[in-house]
Amino acid sequence: MSDLSLSKPSRFAILANPTRFLELSGRLQPWLYGLAALLLAAGLVLGFLAPEDYQQGRTVRIMFIHVPFAWLAMMAWTVMSASALGTLVWRHPIADVSIKAAAPIGAAFTFLCLFTGSVWGRPMWGTWWVWDARLTSVFVLFIMYLGLIALSRAEEEPGRNARAAAVLVLVGFVNLPIIKFSVDWWNTLHQPASVLRAGGPTLDPAFLWPLLVCAAGFTTLFFALHLNAMRTEILRRRVFALQRLAARRAEAA
């Protein structure tokens, strides 16, 4: 890499330097955690103040967490897909760090989406689970997260499988439009979209506002956790490099 002090680096180049990235993200991280805590506290309070639904009763409160988890399950994979381009096109080490750090967080949100959906489905649909297109495609997404976690951690050397992981992420991206439009393309037990749809949200504002604040809170939490895990992954690679250096010196001595 060329000496950054010689030429005026672009904003992207500054962020792409791991040392600068550690400095900037270290300053940003507490603010992200704080903002996430504020938004989540506000969203959960709004959610519990919201009236009960005339049909669903209090189970409508599950919506305030289930829907953000579904959005985040897909957004995390989208973030990883953008990072996968960074690995394959620019071969940038931070892009792989981003994929590896995001995978367990995305998997956790996908699991919570499936779990909260299941305990919502039992009272409202009369079943914990059904193999309809929406539920099945999200389950496939969860399995892909697990596969990616296994692949990105299979080798002792961190980042060894960067290219394979990036290819897997891009192949898996095909699943996202299938998840989104599954409720339109097939006859599913799951309801069609209520918020992000042509013609605007069908939700009453009494439910829409708590949902949006919760979604903003969980999204901020995702980015705070992702940034934190990325910083750790950069340190892990430095530790690995130094350990290898120590081993080489021990051999030479």
Partner: protein, 61 residues
């Protein structure tokens, strides 16, 4: 009859709290472990060739 549903709502929020707290704890503990490992290596006099000047790359495949 709606009070029957309390357990389902509690299960959803309870599982969310457990999973997210566990995820948060794991990420924080992992961060601390790597910080300590790096500090221990540097205390042994091992330094990255690139430390000081910031170019990327060293040891980062």
């Amino acid at each position: 009859m709606h009070s029957d549903y309390f357990a389902f709502v509690a299960a959803a929020y309870g599982a969310t709290a457990i999973v997210l707290l566990a995820l948060f704890a794991w990420i924080r503990l992992d961060a601390r472990a790597q910080r300590r490992a790096l500090a221990a290596l540097e205390a042994r006099g091992l330094r990255r060739r690139s430390s000081g000047a910031p170019p990327a790359g060293e040891g980062q495949s």
